[in-house]
Symmetry: C2
Subunit: 391 residues, 2 copies
């Protein structure tokens, strides 16, 4: 149903490639080391995959030198799992620590690999420092604040283009979620509390092979919904409602991110028309997603279809984004993002339109940019708004 | 099976109480405003609950003034959901923004409520700044870096003591996960890939009423497992394995965090003995968890049982921790945490011991501290290591 399950993890060659590209970019940027603190950054260079990041207690550090493999500076609790990765140099401390939660160990590792040189760490758009500010201050005070520079542009550039092995994982989770959405007629029904519909979706998605469904939002209402980020209420689905579920399910650490709309029993013309407009907007996005086009080109292609059809702006801030180890990644499909598309970029196309009053409808698919244009990773939503009728 | 489902959300009085306690603490600390950026901090004062935080793209801000309700400074995409909370003052911008992702709006809100005064923001242990470092620098450069002080101690103090409404939610999710673990005999079996056992657990937990199972780690092996943070392998459960699952399931934004061990078909003496030691260590923890005792008292009570029985230290860094809106919260059950227990604190008791070679076993229960001692929130694991035999 969702094809062969791809092998978990990556061959060592994948990490060697990532590191090689990173060290090339570091040389260009004049960085003697990278300091990484967040889950996707650490995982990208090490393969370290665990839900233990749910716990905010302990900081985790990865130091990428200008030459040679990354050095892990991590709490002892993660040592056994980190030893299973391709890394050799794993330095640990007993965390939590009363006075020094890895800062001295990290400082020494940075001194060792960067000397008096420049240390890149992500500071820009969509990045977060995942260590206490006070500890970061201790570190930068000790090493020299001016030596720390923003590594966001280079990390963004590296991670935006996915390897075939990464694309295989995203393809797999897209197929699993597509199958789950296609089972909508057996999962969702009039009178069912929205929260039960969500639960049914998650359970089916796990059954079909998802590791997790960390993101499931949506809504239901006559002619659309009020927003696209709400948890489900317990209100029952009513005849005429448009039901939307938007999921970020995960396989082996890689996300899908797309939605489906359904009409419960019947749909009014506004909802049907909005679905039509959104379908066509995604078609335009697919057609525009070729190497050399920019994100703003994609935005304008989709926005143009909506405007031409007289659809009102849905105003969710952008019409799609990058996708991979995180539910949303750079770039953004906005009128100001001039990122040039390259083969291997994985994107969501996510047009939205206002329907009645403040209500909106959103539709989303996932694609990968190939040499000759977009390849769909999701199985396309039906042309007509799917209708769920009682059996 | 897990009792009545508690009402979702909180009455407005809950947030008034939190705010009142916070503003009292702010006055004591000399803070004219608080700046909060992370999911639990924003939710604690607003009730804003969404999985949209999975997306790292947009920053979200909450400003707590010395008097009056908090001010939300958030991306437009969250406005509809934030308007459903008890907040009145919701300021939004179209995010992502090409040059100013909320920084100017936030700066003005802080100027308005703090004047030239002190701004507290979490900078200490277990805290993270959830906005790009460069944007934080712009903000602090504009307002004066020296005006930003660490608010971690006061936030920690507020959030460590749970309200009855919070305890009700944690109790509910503990009951759901307890029921799921008690169904272990139908969920887990010899020959089953560990990944399937995980999937079966999650599905059952959702069926029993969990909103989500964002944390499920564990392992299986002869006489124990190598670590406690790994995702599942596809290796089949073998006769004699000790299987452990440790879950952080969620109801209405509140976590449980505990584990269960099972023997697959048979168990060796080392595993039985370790289970026995850990059971007794938790008993000692329960007995010691009285108002006025310190976290190090709890640590020593549990550590003492393990040492007395000749059990080897499991070395996961601590023997339990706080629990609530996050999988792990302050305090830590370590020999250096002198936090004094108060009624309303929710804790995990999590002793670990080494069994054979590098293998360990861990056992965990959840309690709330009451006036007269600990109240168990989880249904206690059986005294003897549970044995799963083929039906």
């Amino acid at each position: 149903m969702s094809g062969e399950t791809p092998e978990r993890g990556f061959p060592e060659r994948e990490f060697e490639n990532r590191l090689e590209r990173a060290q090339f970019a570091m040389a260009e940027a004049g960085f003697n080391a990278l300091l990484l603190t967040s889950e996707p950054e650490v995982r990208y260079f090490s393969g370290f995959l665990t839900q233990f990041w749910q716990s905010p207690t302990r900081p985790w550090f990865l130091v990428v030198p200008a030459q040679g493999k990354p050095i892990a500076v991590i709490p002892e609790i993660g040592a056994a799992l980190m030893r299973k990765t391709w890394l050799d140099d794993i330095r640990t401390w007993a965390s939590p620590h009363p006075t020094d939660d890895g800062v001295t160990l990290l400082r020494e590792a940075l001194r060792e690999v960067a000397g008096e040189g420049v240390i890149g760490t992500p500071m820009g758009r969509e990045s977060h420092l995942r260590m206490p500010l006070k500890d970061f201050k201790r570190l930068t005070d000790a090493l020299g604040r001016e030596r720390f520079r923003d590594a966001s542009p280079m990390i963004r550039k590296l991670r935006m283009v996915k390897s075939e092995a990464e694309i295989t994982k995203i393809t797999h989770i897209c197929a699993i979620a597509s199958s789950t959405f296609e089972a909508g007629a057996e999962l969702f029904r009039e009178g069912q509390p929205l929260s039960d519909a969500f639960r049914a979706f998650k359970t089916k998605c796990l059954e079909f092979g998802a590791d997790d469904v960390p993101y499931l939002v949506g809504g239901a209402g006559l002619g659309g919904y009020d927003d696209v980020i709400s948890p489900p209420s317990d209100a029952p689905l009513a005849r005429g409602d448009v039901l939307m579920l938007d999921t970020g399910a995960v396989f082996d650490g890689y996300f899908c991110d797309f939605d489906r709309n359904y009409a419960i029993g019947e749909a009014d013309d506004a909802a049907k028309r909005a679905h039509d407009i959104l379908f066509l907007a995604v078609e335009a996005g697919i057609a525009a997603a070729r190497p050399g086009a920019t994100c703003s080109d994609l935005y304008n292609a989709m926005r143009g279809v909506i405007a031409e059809a007289g659809g009102a702006d849905g105003d969710v801030g952008r019409l799609g984004h990058g996708l991979g180890m995180q539910l949303t990644e750079w770039p953004s499909l906005t009128d100001f993002d001039e990122t040039v598309l390259e083969p291997g970029m994985v994107l969501t196309l996510e047009p939205a339109t206002r329907t009645v009053g403040s209500r909106i409808m959103v539709h989303e698919e996932n694609i990968v940019v190939r040499d000759d244009g977009a390849e769909l990773l999701t199985r396309r939503t039906p042309r007509e708004l799917p209708m769920l009728t009682a059996p």
